[in-house]
């Protein structure tokens, strides 16, 4: 086939218009936003012939572009935040965003300094130089669009071991669909530690288009525990990216629970830049109806003796589609790497679909890497066992699904309150499933 220039889709044209209209109104240097938009525009919306987007054809799936959300008024903020947060029981110090704009911030615990991203961009905050520490993400369409449109977010500077938890709460509200772009930068200095809870919520029905990025820069011997919850509208098109640049002897854990969104794509780039660090990325995805959820992960081992663990569980009901694409790269110098990646999916209906692509790319000879992928229905023997003990079928199924997802939801989570809150979400999903 001859090389043909792709016609711009309606959404691509709308994005270009939206950018032209809003760029002068957005905080910070317009130049770097233009560069970012250009990186997106040259390739346009990724489609199935772009390998990293093979199973999530954004060009076909993103038909329209919602307008950028305006800053809400006080009444709207109050109404949006009146709903209790999922993690309320954990009593975190919370920074809340409504429609992508900073709305309310609790006092931060000792060891954490927070500056809103809008302010940081306007002032040229020195820590912003740490943005883009994982350079591999730069050419990615979702990441580039976020860089072009980011309205607000927060820069968290963690200098100590922080007691208690910090929560970032993103709520989208209003009468019509909007798009939001938030960016969070978390710089964790040497020997510091933080537990970060992140939630994304919007009421069902509206086709919001959130595009969020969280970047972690983790110093030597620092520790990060990150939990992210996607509870967006069932019609939302949610793009999210987490990048982590890890120093030596650090410990990093990030888990993503998908309980919402009509279409979601969660991307993780984890780079081991220092030796002897441990990193774990987990995900639990619950899908029904015609939902589509994509998890794409790239782990880069650049240093010696690091350990990475990736575990993803997907439960698929209705006509939903689950996607897992993971790649572990091991550079020639990253000897003694120990990497294990696993994706397991359970199909609960006749019409569900699961696409798995667990890749390894290895250039070092003294390493251990394993990857696994399974896909199937609930085990008949196990179901029989439970039903023989008097459980009705739906309950027996629920129990099995709960334990299946549980591994990715709460295992290795040293926080019982957060674990309980997350399992509550799994239970609610199972209840809804009936």
């Amino acid at each position: 086939m001859a090389e043909i220039a792709m016609m711009k889709t309606q959404a691509e044209t709308a994005l270009a218009d939206l950018f032209a209209r809003s760029k002068s109104l957005l905080p910070g240097d317009a130049r770097s936003r233009e560069d970012a938009f250009h990186r997106f525009a040259v390739k346009g919306l990724p489609h199935r012939r772009v390998e990293e987007w093979k199973y999530t054809d954004l060009r076909a799936l993103m038909r329209e572009v919602a307008p950028l959300a305006a800053k809400p008024d006080a009444a709207a903020i109050e109404a949006a935040l009146a709903v209790e947060s999922v993690f309320a029981a954990a009593e975190p110090a919370t920074i809340a965003f409504v429609n992508g704009h900073l709305a309310k911030a609790d006092a931060m615990p000792d060891g954490v300094a927070a500056v809103s991203l809008a302010q940081a961009l306007a002032e040229g905050h020195p820590l912003l130089s740490k943005l883009g520490a994982v350079s591999d993400a730069e050419g990615n369409a979702a990441y580039a669009l976020n860089a072009a449109f980011m309205t607000d977010g927060v820069v968290l500077h963690v200098t100590k071991r922080v007691e208690g938890r910090v929560a970032l709460r993103f709520v989208t509200t209003g009468a019509s669909a909007v798009s939001t772009a938030t960016r969070v930068l978390v710089v964790v200095e040497e020997d510091a530690a933080i537990s970060l809870l992140e939630t994304h919520e919007s009421a069902n029905g509206l086709a919001h288009q959130p595009n969020d990025v969280v970047e972690f820069v983790v110093g030597d011997r620092a520790e990060v525990a990150h939990v992210r919850l996607n509870a967006e509208s069932d019609a939302a098109l949610a793009l999210s990216t987490v990048t982590a640049h890890l120093g030596a002897q650090a410990a990093f854990g990030s888990r993503n629970i998908v309980a919402g969104s009509g279409l979601s794509r969660h991307q993780v780039w984890m780079t081991f830049a220092g030796a002897d660090t441990k990193g774990a990325v987990r995900g639990a995805t619950m899908l029904g109806g015609s939902q589509h959820a994509d998890t794409t992960l790239v782990v880069n081992h650049l240093a010696t003796g690091c350990e990475s663990r990736e575990l993803f569980k997907t439960a698929i009901d209705g006509r939903a589609t689950g996607v897992f694409q993971g790649r572990i790269n091991v550079a020639p110098q990253a000897q003694k790497t120990d990497g294990k990646m696993m994706s397991a999916a359970v199909l609960l209906s006749e019409e569900g679909t699961m696409m798995n692509k667990p890749e390894l790319e290895i250039f070092a000879d003294d390493v251990q890497c394993a990857h696994g992928a399974t896909c199937g229905e609930l085990d008949d023997d196990l179901l029989f066992y439970l039903m023989a003990r008097g459980l009705p079928r739906p309950e027996a199924e629920a129990l099995l699904i709960e334990s299946f997802l549980g591994e990715a939801v709460e295992e290795d989570l040293d926080d019982a309150i957060v674990g309980e809150a997350l399992m509550g979400i799994v239970e609610a999903w199972l209840k809804k499933r009936g």
């Binding site: 086939m1 001859a2 090389e3 390998e51 091991v330 020639p332 000897q335 990497g339 999916a345 199909l347 609960l348 209906s349 006749e350 019409e351 569900g352 679909t353 699961m354 696409m355 798995n356 692509k357 667990p358 890749e359 390894l360 790319e361 290895i362 250039f363 070092a364 000879d365 003294d366 390493v367 251990q368 890497c369 394993a370 990857h371 696994g372 992928a373 399974t374 896909c375 199937g376 229905e377």
Partner: protein, 490 residues
């Protein structure tokens, strides 16, 4: 942990500078002018004495090929191929259709002798008759020079001949099946092959016949600047069985040569085809100069219920390998198997794997792939397992291990696992193969020393592959297969 010494030694023994088949045979050849055009295709077709439908088929493919682009998704890199700088037809000057081996150029016979391929039936038959006899189709550059045991096979009803002959003698079978598994426009190289294929093997095993001997084709590229484009078509009719093996070698040269073959297998109800390959094309020198570009499309269609297709491959040659022997599991209860060992040395690049496409109910597939990379080579496993909506009860097990020797090479795994049916059960794993202490202890307690015990357990580990190889190949490939994958990285 790194690879064990025994493995390193074995891989070294087949390093690129150890290539044994690099000799050249000086012959008078009959060549088409260099380059590719409609005229060349007409020339090839006329040389083969083909009917008009075949020429039209070729010309149509050529037209389509001109609109296609070379694929670039594989993890291989090479300089752009100038498709007009290749001879598409080169044949040793033969008497028109040699009736016996005596009419074949003795130089060619010598070449096969050197390669250890028996072409003379009487030699094989003299003395004690061996239990395992093999019928050989010898393809030299663009033509088949000899096919053995044809008569005996014909008595059993098996058709075993060159594809050129089949087009002339059995046009109804060729027309019915050619291009039904690998369509003309399947991919860039398959379409090129459809336009210019010069020879290859045709096998038809009739209903209920168990082919009385192993069939094999031995491919040899000899002439400079030529490409080899062969096409193999094997049809196993209802309830039949055939085991086919292919081998290939080429002289040592500084230029790269293109080999773009197409293999189509068709298994009807309850039929079984076992297809084995020992691929040993010239791999280029230690600095990556020369070598064969092996861009091959191989696909089997389990068309009938309960049919079985097994691919077994031992890959050690070629500068670049781009090949994915696949199975379309169309018939209910059909089974596809893929067993592969790919060893890369020097600057070799391997991008190989399989596709198991489950369409029918209760279809099963199994993939065992072992990749070993040494030197500065790159070895990629790329595979697809997919279950379509109607493939209820489909089952797949995949196990792919890779091992690196040294830190200048790379091992990559790119599996695609796509399931659209809840009752399909797919498992993919790539595990580190450690020898269990218990097994070692058990063997040593019975008087084996540690080394012997290790060898025994490793042999057990690879028996999956070795058991699938026909006897003759097992001998040739045994050493390779016995390579320990201890220290594999997943």
């Amino acid at each position: 942990m790194p690879a064990v010494q025994e493995t390193i030694d074995r891989v070294k023994a087949i390093d690129v500078d150890q290539y044994k088949y690099g000799f050249e045979t000086i012959l008078e050849v009959d060549k088409a002018p260099k380059g590719l055009s409609e005229d060349i295709i007409r020339f090839i077709s006329a040389k083969k004495g083909e009917p008009a439908w075949m020429l039209d088929w070729r010309l149509d493919a050529y037209k389509r090929w001109q609109t296609m682009q070379e694929p670039n998704w594989a993890r291989v890199s090479y300089d752009k191929i100038d498709y007009n700088d290749i001879y598409y037809y080169a044949a040793p000057k033969l008497n028109a259709a040699p009736k016996s081996l005596d009419e074949v150029d003795p130089e060619i016979l010598k070449a096969y002798e050197k390669l250890g391929i028996p072409l003379r039936e009487q030699e094989i038959l003299a003395g004690v008759e061996p239990t395992n006899r093999v019928a050989v189709d010898a393809v030299f550059d663009s033509v088949s020079v000899a096919t053995t045991f044809k008569k005996e096979l014909a008595e059993a009803g098996v058709i075993f001949c060159s594809i050129s002959e089949a087009i002339r003698e059995h046009p109804e079978l060729v027309r019915k099946y050619l291009g039904t598994v690998v369509p003309v426009t399947d991919n860039f190289f398959a379409t090129l092959n459809a336009a210019v294929f010069t020879d290859g093997t045709f096998v038809y095993v009739p209903k209920g016949v168990r082919c009385p001997m192993e069939l094999s084709t031995y491919f040899r590229i000899n002439e400079k600047n030529t490409g080899q484009f062969e096409r193999t078509l094997i049809i196993a009719d209802e309830g039949s069985y055939v085991s086919y093996l292919e081998g290939c070698t080429a002289p040592q040269r500084d230029e790269n040569q293109l080999h773009a073959a197409v293999v189509e297998l068709i298994a009807l109800d309850d039929a079984e085809i076992k297809y084995s390959t020992v691929q040993n094309w010239y791999p280029g020198d230690a600095n990556g100069k020369g070598g064969i570009y092996n861009f091959v499309t191989k696909r089997g269609d389990c068309r009938g219920k309960n049919s079985v297709i097994t691919w077994t491959q031992v890959e050690t040659g070629s500068a670049i390998t781009w090949k994915y022997p696949s199975c379309i599991l169309r018939g209910d209860g059909s089974r596809g198997e893929f067993y592969s060992i790919a060893v890369s040395n020097g600057m070799q690049q391997v991008d190989s794997g399989t596709k198991m496409i489950h369409l029918g109910k209760n279809t099963t597939s199994r993939i065992i792939s072992k990749g070993i990379s040494a030197g500065r080579s790159q070895n990629t496993y790329r595979g697809l397992v997919s279950a379509h909506r109607k493939a209820s009860g489909a089952r797949n097990f995949t196990n792919c291990d890779s091992l690196l020797i040294g830190n200048q090479c790379g091992a990559h795994t790119v599996p695609y696992i796509e399931s659209k049916n809840a009752s399909a059960v797919f498992e993919h794993e790539a595990t580190t193969s450690k020898i269990s202490e218990d097994q070692l202890f058990y063997c040593m307690q019975r008087g084996l020393d540690e080394e012997e015990a290790t060898a025994l357990i490793v042999n057990g580990f690879v028996k999956d592959v070795i058991q699938k190889l026909p006897m003759e190949f097992a001998v040739e490939a045994q050493k390779l297969i016995a390579i320990s994958l201890e220290g594999s990285v997943g």
